[in-house]
């Protein structure tokens, strides 16, 4: 019984990351961008666990950091979505390209 | 104390629950319908029926079409019988009531001058077909005068008495219908309201 090679996990997470990044780059809707970011975070999490499981001498570290990342993702989602809602209330749009002045 | 009211309510329902088992007579109000039925009040009214005296030939209805014209939803349809020469007889050839339309108002009973249409106690009339089965023909509508006596004994006595008096009085002069209507209405039946009683 041989374990699944580490590279497979890494490539999986790479693809997931790329897809998330693609979404972030191409989505017009801010919520869609947020979804892409969530995908990227998940890809990073897989990497964290996989590397800590396969290579690190203490395999707990990666898991603990994944917990932190998940919490941070929750923060990001909460604040980001609150911003989206505020934007929607004020500007009646959530399209990323309508918000290009970069200040208000 | 917070929640005490909730607890009391819960106890009430629990008591009701237990009561249904401990003392079903007091606890359960359900009447097991098809097997048991509640007795109906005499003045209960459902759809109308036609009265005959003795045999089904002797329909009291004279096809005067008062009820047909008074009926608010227009659910009564009458065609008088005609003899060979085409003269109109005092008898309905067709008397249809569409139960799907009838709204049980009882106006036909009130306006009938011949005491020939009354409201029935029959309520189990569910049918499979709305258009056909609920259109009730004359034959299905006919019921004996004794049936009326059975379901509404009070009214039966009153109407019998009135009819007897009427027939005794009206023997000498038959045709004077209209003038006799007014003097009769008030004194003879103060409790009857607007039902015309001359025969």
């Amino acid at each position: 019984m041989t374990p699944i090679p580490l590279n497979h996990f890494v490539i999986f997470s790479l693809f997931l990351f790329s897809i998330g990044l693609y979404g972030t780059l191409t989505r017009r809707n801010v919520i869609g961008i947020l979804m892409g970011i969530e995908l990227m975070l998940n890809a990073a999490n897989i990497n964290l666990i996989a590397f800590s499981r396969y290579i690190s001498p203490n395999p707990e570290t990666g898991q603990i950091f994944v917990i932190f990342v998940i919490v941070l993702a929750a923060c990001a989602a909460a604040v980001g979505l609150a911003i989206v809602l505020a934007m929607y209330q004020n500007r009646k749009t959530v399209q990323a390209e309508d918000i290009h002045i970069l200040k208000w | 104390m917070f929640g005490w009211g909730v607890l009391k309510g819960m106890l009430v329902t629990l008591w009701n629950f237990l009561l249904t088992y401990l003392w079903p007579k007091k606890g359960i109000f359900t009447v097991q319908y098809p097997e048991k039925k509640l007795p109906l009040a005499q003045r209960y009214r459902n759809f109308p029926f036609l009265v005959y005296d003795g045999t089904p030939h002797m329909i009291r209805c004279v096809a005067c079409k008062i009820c047909e014209s008074e009926c608010p939803p227009k659910c009564i349809y009458i065609i008088p019988e005609k003899d060979a020469e085409g003269r109109v007889q005092k008898k309905p050839a067709v008397f249809d009531i569409d139960y799907a339309i009838c709204m049980n108002c009882g106006l036909c009973e009130e306006v009938c001058p011949f005491d020939s249409i009354f409201m029935d106690h029959e309520y189990e009339i569910s049918k499979y077909n709305r258009a056909e089965d609920l259109m009730v023909r004359k034959e299905a509508l006919l019921k004996p005068w004794e049936y009326f006596a059975k379901i509404r004994p009070h009214d039966f006595e009153r109407i019998e008495a009135k009819r007897a008096a009427k027939s005794a009085k009206a023997k000498p002069v038959a045709p004077a219908e209209k003038p006799s209507q007014k003097p009769d209405a008030g004194p003879t039946s103060p409790q009857q309201g607007s039902v015309p009683k001359n025969g």
């Binding site: 374990p3 790329s18 998940i70 989602a77 909460a78 609150a82 | -």
Partner: protein, 169 residues
Amino acid sequence: MEILYFFAKTGFYATALVTLAAAILVVTLRNLFHCALALILSLLGVAVTYLYLKAEFLAIIQILLYIGAIMTLLIFAIMLTHRLTDRSVSQTNRQSLPAFALLAVFNIFFIASLAAVPWKINSASLAAKIDTQALGAFLMGPYVFPFEIISIVLIIALVGAVILGRTDQ
């Protein structure tokens, strides 16, 4: 027994495929609500991947937090801005092609470089069993400081979100 391990491994690749397919749906579907549902599927796949990495606790946490909380938020946000999920509106901007090209190149290079790296597999930690209690001990022990900080960050973020999301100014 070997065949079961084979099944299990096949299961991993199947999961990965499903996850990636769902992820692609996330970034390409027009209807944002559908995107969110696809994202849920994708996140579930990630949770299963965690199981393959013997991180049961994290898998459950992934479901509880990501799907229970974050997705809920997302869907709520979609509902509140639903007018923009109309089918008539294009959902992608004009840089999808360059982005795709760049990412493809990026992936090729990455995989190429990845193949060149000889990882030193640590078999001890690969076999190690990490139960929830050990994780808790680590959180409360060596990592207590980041743990506290992350909780403060979370509280601040929540307060900020509440303030931002208020409708009455």
